[in-house]
Symmetry: C3
Subunit: 320 residues, 3 copies
C-alpha cells in the first residue's frame, strides 16, 4: 500500500529518500544545489574529508553493474567519513533466490544507515524505501527506464553554475530519450526549476510524440532541436537497451543526430554541451566537440561528487 | 604436528583463535556473549564506531564465496575501526596454484593481524592457525561441514536474550543436520552451556542415528521433534551440498519438515523460531512463520554483528 | 609529444610519478629506501597508521588482474590513512569501449590524488601520467614487459638490508629474463646503485645476448651464473607470457635452472635468495631452498609494504 504522501518526504516536507525528481518541490532541489556548493570546496582541500557521516554504514546495492556510478557514490560517502560497503549483489544470496525484500531486511538488521540502489527494474528503489527500517535512507542510483535523480541534480548544478538562472534557458536533450532515465529525470528537474523551454530531439523511434504531455517540445530534426539552445544535453546510445531494428546504424544516427561542430554552431554561441558519460566518440558526439571550448562534460563529473555528498548528508540529517 | 593444548587457547586459557566451539570452556563462551552485550549499544549509536582495532589489518579470506557472511565480518571489523581487506581469492595467486600456506605466509608478512577464513575444506582454518605468524589471529567463518562457530555464538546470544537461562531449555534443530556446520557448532555450544535437551529433527538420510553420540535426541518425526520445544532452529536446505537422491523433492521435504503454523503450534507457546539465513520461504519455513510473532530471524542478524565484534576484539586483546 | 625532461621528475628534480627505474638518479632511489626504513617501524606498531595521506583518494587501476600486488598497494595506502578505491576495471566503462584516456580524465575530475596502474601494455602508465591532471600522481604497478619499479625498489631495500653496500655485490637474476619487467627494473636499479656485477642467467630463448648492452653478464650455464654470487634473484616462470615451444617443459627447466641446495652451494655461503612471488615450488625453486636459511622471500614482502608507503608519501609531497 502506497501512502498518499510523497514517500520521499517526511511530515515536515524534508527529504528522507531520493527516489525520483518527479514530485519534489523546487525548494528541495535548490537546497541540495546550495548544499553541494559548500562541498565543492571540501573536494579542493588538501584533506578531502568532513565528519558528517562518521560511523554511518552506507551500502552500495548495485543489482545492475555500473563501476563508474558506484565509484562516485563511494567517493562521496567516503569524503563524508561514512563506512562504505560494496555488495557484489550478483554473487550474493540475492542471486541464490533470496527475495529482494529479505535481502533488504537483513541488511537493515545490521544497522545500515543508507542504501544506494541501482536496479534494472523501474520502481525497485521505491519498493525498498517502503519496506526498509525507518532509520534507513534510500538513494536511487538509477532504476530501469524510470529515474536517475542524482544525475539530474548534477546536471542542474552544472547548468546553474554556467548559466545562473533557469528562467530564460532553452535546453535541448538529444538522442535516445525513450530509454533514458537521465532524460526523464532531467525533464522533471528542468520543469520544476522553471526552464523556458525543454526540447527532446531525436528520431521518432527514440522520441515519441507523447513526450509532449510532459511539457516538452519534440523535435525530430536536429537543426530545429539545437537552434539557439543555451544547453545541449547529449545522451548515450544505450545499445544494450535497444531491441530490434529501431535504428539503421550508429553511423546513420551520428549523421543525423551526432553533435558536430557544424550542428553546434546553430546553438547559442555560449551554449554549453553536456553528457552523462561514458561518451562514445563518433557515435553521439564528435571528439572536437567533446573536448572543445563549450564542453562541460568533465566539470559535470566534478560537480557530481559534491552533489552526491549533498544528497547523502541531507538525507542523513532528516528523520523519518 | 598438533600441540596437545587446544590450539584456540594460549597458556593462560585465553582465546587466541576461534576455530570451533568444540573444546571451548563454558567461561570463554559466556565471556564472548557478555562482551557482545556491550557492543549492542555501539550499533545503536549515532556514531557506530569504537577504536579498539584501530590500525589493525583484518583480511577476509573467503575461499568459498559468501557475500552475506563476509559483509557481517566487514561491518563488525569496520565498527571496531580496523582496516579491512577483502581478498578475491578466486582470482588471486591461490587460484594460480600457489599453496594455501604460501598465501598465508605472504599475507602474514604484510603484518596482517587477523584472518577471517571461509573454506570448503573442513579443517582449513586449523591448518592456517597452526602455520601463521604468532601475532596473527584466525576466525573460522565456516569450514566444510565442520564448524561455524560465530553463527553458533550468535545463536546462543539470541537464545540467552529471549530465554535467559539454558538449563531448562528444549532446543530442536530441524533439517539437513548431517551437512550443516551450523548444526554441529550449535550442538556443541548448547551442550557446553547446559541446555536440558537438544533434538536433531529430520529424515534418516539427513539426521543419522550416530548423532546420539553427541548427546542429542534424534527425531525422525517432526511432531515429536518440535513438541514442547522452547527454541526451534530451522536449517537451510543446502541443495548444493546434497548428492544424489537423498530427498524426494523440496515439496516433499516441506510437507514433512517445513515449519508451518500448524507444526509450530505443537511447540511451547512462547517458543522462538530461528534460522541462520538466507531463508527459502516455502521450503524450510512458511512465510507466515518466518514473519510471525515468534520469529527472531532478524534479531539474530543484529546480534550477529555485536557477537562478531566481541570475537574480534577478544582475540585482538589476547597474545599467543 | 614527449617533454624532453624525464616525466617522472618536476623542475626541482623531485619525483612526481614512479613509472620506471630507468632514468632515475641514484639520489632519488636512495631517498625512497631511506624513507621506507622509517615506515618499517610503523608496520610493527600496535596502531599501524600514520596520517600522511589522510583525505587523499588513491585509485587502484588494475587493467591486468593481480590480487596480491593490488593488496600490497591497498595496505600501504590504508596505513598512510588514504581513502582507497579499487576499480574493477574489467567490468567498468573501460571494458565497454571507453578509451583509457577518457576513463582517466573522468577519475581525475573526481579529484583523484593518485593512480596505481597495472596494465598489460608497456607504456600505459606513461600515457596516463602525460594526460592526467597536474595534481595527480601515477605509480606504475607493472606494465607489460616494461617495468615494475616498486618491485625493484623493494628488491633493492632487501639487498641493502642484508648486504649494506652495493659496490662489491655480484647479483644473479635467474630465469625468464626476456619476459620479465621485474628483471628489467632490477637491472636498472642495480646498475644505478653501483652493483659490481649483474648476471642474467637462463636458456638462450629466455636470456638473449643483446641484454649485454644493458651492462649485464649473460650466462646460459647455471653453475657459471650462480658461482660466488652474493644475491640470487629467481624469477617466476610466466607460462601465460610464453608463446610456442620456447621451453621443453617445466621439468626440463627445473633440471637446468631451478634453484636447488646443490646449485645454491656454488654461491657465496652467505648469499641471499630472493623471488618476487608467487613462487612455484619445484619449478623455479626447490622447497628446501625457498624455506631455507638463505631465503629472504618473506622479508621481501614485509619490506614491500614499507617501500610502497615510501613511494606514495614521497609522490604526495612533491608538486608537479
Amino acid at each position: 500500500m502506497l501512502s498518499r504522501r510523497n514517500p520521499q518526504l517526511n511530515k515536515h516536507g524534508e527529504l528522507i529518500h531520493l527516489l525520483s525528481i518527479e514530485g519534489l518541490p523546487k525548494a528541495v532541489l535548490l537546497q541540495i544545489l546550495d548544499t553541494a556548493s559548500t562541498f565543492m570546496s571540501v573536494n579542493e582541500r588538501e584533506v578531502k574529508k568532513v565528519p558528517l557521516l562518521r560511523g554511518k554504514s552506507v551500502f552500495n546495492l548495485f543489482f545492475e553493474n555500473s563501476t563508474r556510478t558506484r565509484t562516485t557514490f563511494e567517493i562521496a560517502a567516503t569524503r563524508l567519513s561514512a563506512d562504505v560497503m560494496n555488495l557484489d549483489i550478483s554473487r550474493s544470496s540475492a542471486a541464490k533466490g533470496e527475495s529482494l525484500l529479505d535481502t533488504i531486511a537483513n541488511l537493515s538488521a545490521m544497522h545500515a544507515d543508507m542504501f544506494v540502489v541501482r536496479h534494472s527494474e523501474s520502481g525497485a528503489p521505491y519498493l525498498i524505501a517502503r519496506h526498509c527500517a525507518p532509520h534507513v535512507h534510500v538513494v536511487n542510483a538509477g532504476d530501469g527506464r524510470h529515474a536517475h535523480p542524482t544525475q539530474a541534480l548534477l546536471d542542474m548544478y552544472t547548468i546553474r553554475h554556467y548559466k545562473k538562472d533557469f528562467s530564460n534557458l532553452r535546453v535541448a536533450i538529444v538522442g535516445d530519450i525513450v530509454h533514458s532515465r537521465v532524460a526523464r529525470s532531467d525533464i522533471h528537474a528542468l520543469t520544476t526549476l522553471g526552464a523556458a523551454e525543454v526540447r527532446a530531439v531525436g528520431p521518432k523511434t527514440l522520441v515519441p510524440g507523447d513526450l509532449r504531455s510532459m511539457g516538452v517540445r519534440v523535435c525530430h530534426d536536429m537543426a530545429e532541436g539545437v537552434r539557439d539552445a543555451d544547453v545541449i544535453i547529449m545522451l548515450r546510445l544505450q545499445n544494450e537497451r535497444m531491441s530490434g531494428a529501431m535504428l539503421p546504424s550508429a553511423g546513420e544516427f551520428f549523421k543525423h543526430y551526432g553533435l558536430t561542430e557544424e550542428k553546434l554552431a546553430l546553438a547559442h554561441p555560449e551554449a554549453i554541451v553536456m553528457h552523462p558519460g561514458p561518451i562514445t566518440r563518433g557515435v553521439e558526439i564528435d571528439s572536437s566537440v567533446a573536448d572543445g571550448r563549450q564542453s562541460v562534460i568533465l566539470p559535470q563529473v566534478t560537480f557530481g561528487i559534491a552533489v552526491r555528498m549533498a544528497v547523502m548528508s541531507t538525507l542523513a540529517g532528516n528523520e523519518a
